[in-house]
Amino acid sequence: MMNLLPVVLTAIVGILIILSFFIPHPIVAEPAQVLQDWAIVIVASGYVLGAANVYKINGEAAIKQQKDWIYKWVLLGSMTGMMVIGFFFSGGTQFLGDGSPFKWAYDYLYVPMQATMFSLLAFFIASAAFRAFRIRTVDAALLAVAALVVMVGRVPIGNLMTHGLPESIQLPTMANWLLEWPQNAAKRGIAIGAGLGVMATGLRIILGIERSHMREEA
């Protein structure tokens, strides 16, 4: 019975949400909306669990001076500091307002650090591209040639190099053709397959075929 109840609830909720896609009448649409609002509440309350987990795991490591314990103190100190600033020194519910200490700390401490992480992407793209374009197989050769055509065809020098040729073999034309036909066809093929995968997974969960996320007592 304890195993059946979550399966039945999942099926009811799942079918109701699917029906609300086809039935705009409030008899179906409004309960579906209420369920989605509940989901937001559940997710929001989950952050209490998340914060507790961060304190537990990192607090133990910091107190017992396990490996890299100093970083754990930095994490716990920063997290506690932001919470104290947000709760007690930033005007209550207006903590995200302009000029509040919480907003200041977010904008001038967190955002620059986030931008730093994001900017690493430029270097990683360069290193990944270097490996990707090494021609070792036929596939890699095709990839390198296609990439070269697209890259050169998208910049003015590509136009300059081939503007005297017939339009169909100019680099910008070939680059656009590669992007609009073979690339789009592949992307849409993947998207259709992924869409079916979403439906199949959803159906398995709704019908209770896939229920590994519900603990099955031995």
Partner: protein, 415 residues
């Protein structure tokens, strides 16, 4: 110094006073009437000019206002249409805009809905369900307002079915039937062929390598919450992965981006350890919440990779800009890397930086593939047959469109 400041500080010169002095001289000599008399003359002149000019006429009115209950909605919209004012059609300057108003009855009071510089349609989507309204459309211009055109009473009613989604419903029903039929056939003992997926086969090999090296396995379930089906698919795979790590007695680290994902991941890992008969080996701290912030999450995982040096990194789920940051950092540590996502834009990054990549639907198939449970494999077979049906529809659609038959495509255009 700004120009405006420079100008404000300019000293007045003699020339500035010349007009005033001339005016004073004229008044003193009696050559001009006093200012009050001059103003009276000006008003009289203006009045004569207005009387002489032809008056600007009000625009010709709009006509035939029709209100229709909005289609395929929950009874919150009324769609209006009307015949344009002839002056708007002719582009005459007497027309400026249409004023659209509504009331419970023709007696009013009228509430402004919108004003439109042109056009003959308006969707009013803020009405009360079941309430009767009348609408009026008034053509406005510099010469005033035309006589309003009033609609018949109209009521917004909730619909029971969205007719714009018939094609989706049919496709979904066909898909569900296929999945259920193949699931039943698999349950009945029929052996279903499922092609090899090298990326999934490599998971056990990667965990085995981590075991030989005495290092951990890092499992990243994506950066979306549980409402993303990719995260759900990833968690289903996590159970099978943790079953293997439990069997090999290799530690697994699962950093999570959302608390709800964390609680489910804990259940999955625990299930895996229980299924492997090693419930005592389960470490609750192996699944941990990190942060919901995207790049802070990346920084935390990069830190784990660089400090703990896991020998196998598995990224399965939904990823965005962090895909390459994670995969390249993992590559630099020399770990075997297996990734999978249905985010098409991120697949190239994973293909480049990882040893194996599950592309799109393979992510959703992985759970069934690894568990080998007949019921789950049946749903994979159903998906394959649905793909055949979609290919047929695409081919038929291309042929009909080429032949100039557009109704087939329109049937599949959903709202």
């Amino acid at each position: 110094m700004p120009a405006c400041v420079t100008q404000s500080r300019r000293h007045p010169s003699f020339l500035d006073f010349v007009p005033s002095l001339l005016l004073a001289l004229v008044l003193v000599l009696g050559l001009a009437p006093p200012p009050a008399a001059a103003a009276q003359d000006s008003l009289a002149t203006t009045a004569r000019t207005l009387e002489a000019a032809p008056p600007v006429a009000a625009p010709a009115p709009a006509a035939d206002v029709v209100g229709v209950d909005g289609k395929n909605d929950s009874g919150k919209a009324i769609e209006l249409s009307w015949s344009a004012s002839p002056d708007e059609k002719a582009g005459i300057a007497t027309f400026t805009a249409y004023l659209v108003e509504r009331a419970a009855s023709t007696a009013g009071p009228w509430t402004r809905v919108d004003s439109l510089p042109r056009g003959t349609h308006k969707k009013s989507d803020t009405v009360e369900r079941g309430q009767t309204y009348v609408y009026r459309v008034t053509a406005l211009g510099p010469g005033g307002a035309a006589a309003p055109a009033v609609s018949a009473p109209v009521k917004a009613v909730a619909q029971w079915f969205n007719t714009g989604r018939v094609s989706i419903l049919l496709a979904m029903l066909l898909f569900f039937v296929l999945v259920i039929v193949f699931t039943m056939r698999a349950q009945a003992g029929e052996k279903l062929f499922v092609r090899r997926i090298p990326g999934i086969d490599a998971i056990e090999e990667a965990i085995g390598r981590a075991t030989e090296m005495g290092r951990s396995v890092l499992y990243v379930p994506g950066i979306n919450d549980i409402d993303d089906i990719q995260t759900m698919a990833s968690l289903n795979i996590l159970e099978s992965v943790s079953k293997i790590t439990a069997r090999y007695e290799t530690p697994i680290i699962v950093p999570c981006n959302y608390p709800v994902v964390m609680t489910l991941a804990q259940e999955m890992v625990k299930n895996g350890y229980v299924a492997a008969g090693r419930a005592d080996g389960y470490d609750p701290d192996s699944v941990r919440y990190v942060t919901t912030e995207q790049f802070a999450y990346v920084a935390a995982i990069a830190g784990i990779m660089l400090r703990d040096k896991p020998a196998a990194n598995i990224y399965l789920g939904s990823f965005y800009a962090e895909s390459l940051l994670l995969a390249e950092t993992g590559f630099s540590t020399g770990a075997i890397q297996i990734a999978g996502t249905a985010q098409v834009a991120q697949l190239p990054f994973f293909v480049v930086a990882c040893d194996y990549t599950l592309i799109g639907e393979e992510l959703y198939a992985a759970g069934a593939y690894m568990s080998r449970e007949p019921r789950l494999l049946g749903s994979l077979k159903g998906s394959d047959y649905m793909k055949v049906a979609i290919i047929l529809v695409i081919v038929v659609g291309c042929v009909l469109e080429t032949a100039g038959v557009t109704s087939f495509k329109q049937f599949f255009a959903s709202q």
